[in-house]
């Protein structure tokens, strides 16, 4: 990677669900090789932010660039780990099948899945400590194993920028350790990861920089600079009531139309 463009740059982003704005005026730059945490209360718009980076939801305004280009040119360089609850784990596929999905872009529509694809998937599974589970039915996985499977699916993509939605949610200590290890390996090889995180205690330990989000960006920067009690209070405290009241009023008006 011999480019100067930053992995992710967001300008003036506003996103609305059914015209009810959920994030306002987000400005955000991520430097290469960083682990970035996004924290904020429930409903703060964290998932929405990641989704709008990937053009999964229409935005009201804003410009997003990934390594200096718009999303649709850079899709192959971005790996996404969705929230575990977003899928039905009773689906008739095996763990290896799920990981292979990360390679569909490379395999194409019609060509068969080759041995080298399966081997790549198997290697990714071994990296997350799930080597023995390749043939397991996904409905038989524990929560932590589901999370590792999703991580492996993102790993096979060999992306440069990873977006992860709460990978640490409801996993045990061993899984958490594995994920952190992998994040650090990523950073060591120059990759960038943006991770939505809920456990505030571990933020300083895990992340180089942090974005504190509550409908708008409360603070962002190096973790040691911005992860302060005061900023946390501003993020999680009830200081945003005005903004919320404004959106609520807009929603009511919308409903009465």
């Amino acid at each position: 990677m011999s480019e100067t463009a930053v992995p992710l740059s967001i300008r003036d982003l506003t996103v609305a669900w059914h015209r009810k704005p959920v994030i306002w005026d987000v400005e955000f730059d991520v430097s290469a090789g960083e682990l970035v945490g996004i924290v904020g209360p429930n409903g703060a718009g964290k998932s929405t932010l990641l989704k709008s980076v990937m053009d999964l939801i229409p935005r009201v305004s804003g410009r997003i660039e990934i390594f200096g280009r718009p999303w649709k040119d850079q899709r192959q360089r971005v790996g996404y780990v969705p929230q575990r609850e977003s899928v039905d784990w009773d689906f008739p596929v095996s763990v290896l099948d799920v990981v292979t999905m990360g390679l569909f872009g490379r395999i194409g529509w019609l060509r068969p899945v080759l041995k080298r694809h399966r081997e790549a998937a198997q290697r990714a599974l071994e990296r997350v400590g799930m080597g023995e589970y390749a043939d397991r039915q996904i409905s038989q996985l524990s929560g932590g194993q589901q999370q590792r499977t999703f991580l492996a699916r993102a790993l096979v993509q060999e992306a440069d920028l990873y977006l992860m939605d709460e990978p640490f949610a409801a996993v045990d200590a061993a899984t958490e350790e594995t994920i952190v290890e992998i994040l650090r390996e990523m950073r060591a090889s120059g990759r960038t990861a943006i991770v939505i995180h809920h456990d505030l205690h571990t933020v300083p330990e895990y992340f180089d920089s942090v974005m504190m989000l509550n409908m708008r960006v409360v603070a962002q920067g190096k973790t040691e600079d911005v992860f302060t009690r005061e900023n946390l209070e501003r993020t999680y405290g009830g200081r945003l009531t005005l903004l919320e009241e404004a959106t609520e009023a807009m929603r009511r008006q919308e409903k009465s139309l």
């Binding site: 059914h18 989704k51 999964l56 996404y80 689906f91 569909f104």
Partner: protein
Amino acid sequence: MSGHSVVQHFLTLRLLPALLVFSLAAERLAAEEVDVAGEQGASGLRVILLQDYNTRVVLFGATVLGLASGVTGSFTLLRKRALTGDALSHASLPGVGLAFLLAPAMGVSPKSLSVLLTGAAISGMIGAATILFIRRLPRLKEDAALGIVLSVFFGGGVAILTVVQRTAEGHAAGLDSFIYGQTAAMTSGDAFVIAVTGLLTIAVLLAARRPLTLLCFDEGFAACRGYSTFLLDLLLMACVVLITMIGLRAVGLILMIALLIIPAAAARFWTESLPRMIVIAALIGGCSGFTGALISALAPGYPSGPVIVLVCGLLFFLSFLGGTSRGVLIRSVRRRRLNDSIDREHLLRGIWELREGDACGVSEPPSPAAGAEELLKIRSWSVSLLSRQILRAAREGLVFQRSDGAVVLTDRGRIVAERLVQNHRLWELYLITHADVAAGRVDREADAIEHVLEPELIERLKKLLYSRSAAPGIPSSPHPLESATPVVSEKLDTAEGGA
């Protein structure tokens, strides 16, 4: 809506009408018994031997229809859009009537199947678009959209058909056969259209299987990999519309949804792999189509739709019972095996714990042994269950029965028992120290869980608990072994007597 409730919905909602229509037809035919029987005797053999070109073609058409329904249904079921297919098939009815009315004005024959099906497809697509539109409106949910489209379009269709039926040639065209299906009305040309469309749909779906799998499993991931979920959903819906159209002739629009859902739902009982599920669903659908059309050809006058759906329902029932992956029978066998192994574990642990106190201070403790009466006291076992378990454990070399009737642990049985006791007590300890469960209750709580503890979990338990308490090994029980203690002293003589 979960896949399960959709299936239940259709089993009750569609199999019953199918049965009803079928029995009404049977009653009607019974009234005209004589001439039907005469006709049938002559042609029945020809049908079975597939001597008629027409019969062959119709059977082929119905089979391909079933195959294609199985494949399409697998994807719609996994996409949890099974109900959309129902709304779409109902939405096609006004198109059939309008195509019949408008065809002469456009200079084409209103009797041609392709004209009617094109009408059906167009109104089905309008129905689909309406669903998508209503769903985008705030405060209206998916099921509302489906309900509205289904009932309004179907109502409109029935009204139009009533008008058509009043006209002379309209009455002769037998458009009402689209509602319940009638393979007898199928010409070889119709069957050809059906077969080609069906095979084409299968080919398209198989070509798009990877993006479709992604769409069904993880919509968000599919979208971020660059697949347009909108276009993929549209493709899937278009396939449903096509299948519904070609199914109108043979199955009819009311029951078409059953052919889309039931084979896919039945296939789920047999496998946990998507490619296999698709193949099995196709086979079940194809088999139903073939059998239904064959029966209908043998006994003309029976509407083929209900027959096909009833065969489908029968195959579903068989899969539900005998499916090798999720069938009721295999599940009950698995549960029996689990219960057996739990009972056996209790037996081993029971013997070990009864003799636990004796081992103290003896340098070479004797093999733990216990009489049947002692064992019956510590568990609410029936005599027959206990003796069955003893036999079973003996066969596996875990215990043997001494001449005095006492059950003795073999060396292997003792190792297993020690591991079980350890797991049980580790878990009890964990519940007491970490989960605040009262000491009096932990025995039962641990009982329920210890059998499913995986080795890695045990390792973690050990790490956690041994770092606090002193020596590794088997911890002593955190609660008095209730009935065991008095029994031990009492029964010791009998148990040791024969040694």
